[in-house]
């Protein structure tokens, strides 16, 4: 019987990890569809950013209430993994509470389990409050129109899964303690009461040994299967940020927010016009790349990593002046659209071995011109993101494509361009009057 359970466990583990790894490989391939961008510089500053922003969650604390709740859920999630290690070893080796076998360590063991229970309870409470904020209080940021449908369900599935997993862990421990010292349950090692579940053992005291073992084993199995489910749910969900927040913070922009990326190819083009002798040889441009971005493959790999790192919290959108005044633009939607389109392109490649034109692009089919036109480039979205996503960089690249490839500009902008070209100022004034203020 034991052996069957062990084998079953090993099969589940291998399958769970394999399917996860395969999907992650696919995501990596998708991210690398983006254009090259060398971000290998300044590793000291990058490690520091990762430490402060991803591990330390520095930017979350602009908003203390969700920050503390999030910290509890995140801290609990990470530290409880130590217990998952024991669960793994138990499952593979057929033990029950392997780490409690050394008699001298039992006090410490019970203490640690107690501590994990405390964390599990904090995760549970945190998730319940998050659920209430989302579905009952209906915090505005968490109930905007771009979240209708799947994104909203996704958020609730994540919260419910975490609530269920933590409940299973606590019920398992309660049943375990009810079994300790009972005849017929000798392998349930007697331990000091656990901090949280220890208070609920009396609820289970009337149950028979076999019922209790049934409860304990079911919880154990459901918990670990739940973890395998969750692991494989992550790549399809916004919750993947728990992994990508780290590389994304590492590779985040180190230059001032106000700085727009230079377009070297256009710079060379101008140089070629003005000073042909100084311009780099024209042969260097082997293939013409689109100016700006029309589809996800025109974006840089960092933009695509950004898209997979977004957990749709909406801090960007809630500070966007355009969104605040009812315009169509939502920086969160820019990130969600980029991810959705990237997934679509990825599936296309998986199915056809290479990308088969589907007549769609990120620009127009996902992100409309009106959205792009509403941006004031104020960088509030960039500043707000706790994991250093840069929606503005994507907006800028799409805008460049609209102007330079499609000559798609509002009439007033065309006039402004004309004025700059002819009068060296965006307004229609004579360049001779530029210093007229001196004598006025």
């Amino acid at each position: 019987m034991h052996l069957v359970q062990q084998l079953l466990f090993i099969v589940c583990t291998i399958a769970g990890v394999y399917i996860f790894a395969r999907k992650v490989g696919e995501m990596r391939r998708n991210i690398l569809l983006g254009r090259d961008e060398d971000l290998s510089d300044n590793s000291a500053q990058r490690w520091k950013n990762m430490l402060l922003l991803a591990i330390g969650q520095k930017k979350m604390f602009k908003n203390p209430i969700p920050a503390f709740l999030h910290l509890a859920v995140y801290g609990g999630f990470i530290i409880i993994n130590i217990e998952i290690l024991e669960i793994f070893l138990d499952g593979m080796l057929g033990y029950h509470r392997l780490f409690a076998h050394a008699e001298g360590l039992r006090t410490l063991y019970a203490f640690l389990i107690g501590f994990f229970e405390l964390l599990a309870s904090l995760v549970l409470i945190g998730c319940v409050i998050f659920f209430i904020r989302r579905n009952i209080i209906k915090v505005r940021r968490l109930n905007m129109k771009e979240l209708k449908g799947w994104p909203r369900e996704d958020a609730n599935i994540i919260l419910m899964t975490e609530i269920i997993l933590m409940t299973l862990l606590l019920v398992m421990n309660t049943a375990d303690q009810a079994l300790q010292g009972r005849p017929g349950a000798e392998h349930y090692i007697a331990l000091n009461p656990f901090w949280i579940s220890g208070n609920f053992v009396h609820l289970f005291s009337g149950m028979s040994v076999s019922t209790l073992i049934g409860i304990e084993r079911s919880c154990w199995w459901l918990h670990i299967l739940g973890i395998f489910f969750f692991l494989n749910y992550l790549p399809y969900s916004k919750h993947f940020h728990i992994l990508l927040a780290f590389p994304n913070a590492y590779y985040s922009k180190l230059t001032p927010n106000g700085q727009v990326k230079n377009m070297k190819d256009i710079q060379n083009e101008v140089l070629y016009m003005m000073e042909p002798d100084k311009a780099p040889a024209a042969t260097a441009e082997a293939e013409h790349k689109r100016f700006g971005a029309k589809d996800v493959t025109d974006l840089s790999w960092k933009n695509l990593l950004d898209a997979y790192s977004c957990t749709e919290c909406g801090r960007c959108t809630s500070v966007c002046p355009a969104n605040n005044t009812g315009k169509l633009l939502s920086p969160r939607k820019i990130m969600m659209d980029t991810r959705d389109r990237l997934e679509e392109v990825g599936k296309n490649i998986t199915a056809n071995k290479e990308f088969k034109d589907d007549g769609k692009t990120l620009l127009n089919n996902y992100i409309s011109v009106e959205e792009l036109r509403a941006c004031t480039t104020c960088q509030a979205c960039v500043d707000a993101c706790p994991v250093m996503i840069d929606p503005l960089d994507i907006i800028m690249q799409l805008r460049r494509n609209l102007i330079m490839e499609e000559s798609n500009a509002p009439q007033e902008w065309n006039m402004m361009f004309g004025n700059i070209e002819n009068n060296m100022a965006p307004w229609k004034f004579s360049p001779d009057d530029r210093d007229a203020w001196v004598n006025s």
Binding site: Q267, V270, G292, V319, T325, G326, T377, W413, I420, P426
Partner: protein, 258 residues
Amino acid sequence: MSVKSMAEYAANGENPEVLFWVGCAGSFDQRAQKVTKAFTQILDKAGIKFAILGKEEMCTGDPARRAGNEFMFQMMAYNNIQTMNGYGIKKVITICPHCYNIFKNEYPALGGNYEVMHHTTFLQQLINEGTIKLKDGGVFKGQKITYHDSCYLGRGNAIYDAPREVLEAFDNELVEMKRCKSNGMCCGAGGAQMFKEEEPGTNRINFERAGQALETGATIIASNCPFCMTMLSDGVKNKEKEDSVKVLDIAEMVAMSL
């Protein structure tokens, strides 16, 4: 007061300490011209040898670049850098955060390397060094002032304190809006919005922002950007508060207190 151009200095074989980059708004916009004049008065009073480029100055290319017209931006940048490098300019002061940002962050990649200062940082320096002294019990004594962070000085370049320090030098009360510093709200002009109609929405960004400024009960809204100045002035007018609430550039406030 005489304002000399770089060409005039060069003709005399002289080198000014700084180039005052006036910018398109400072040159042509009637309201912004007042800021330009106020700032030249301060430079004059502080005894700083400065020049303007005059007719040789051109748009930095900021609105073109942010609208997506990289080609036009590169053209303007090329021309300006040629002019500035031709004069051997080392230090630039500007009254526009968009010009400031582009000189500071975007021209270096194109061969334009200058020490750049926004006028509010420069004013703070002049006051701290004692080069200029504000009158005791000046015109702003006891008035409530609120400060609007422009995007390209604030979030764009993390300059939040220098302009506030200048304002604190007046004998008055500085009140913050709910959205300030890194969470400050845009006036609605950036990203070339200044030059087009807003997209359809429920409110105008400048009306929203002006409302936030008025909520503080301040009678002066201090700004550091000619575009914010236009947007906020229109916003205040929309709320019919233009008689009781003034939108002033920090340079104007300093000039009035000398």
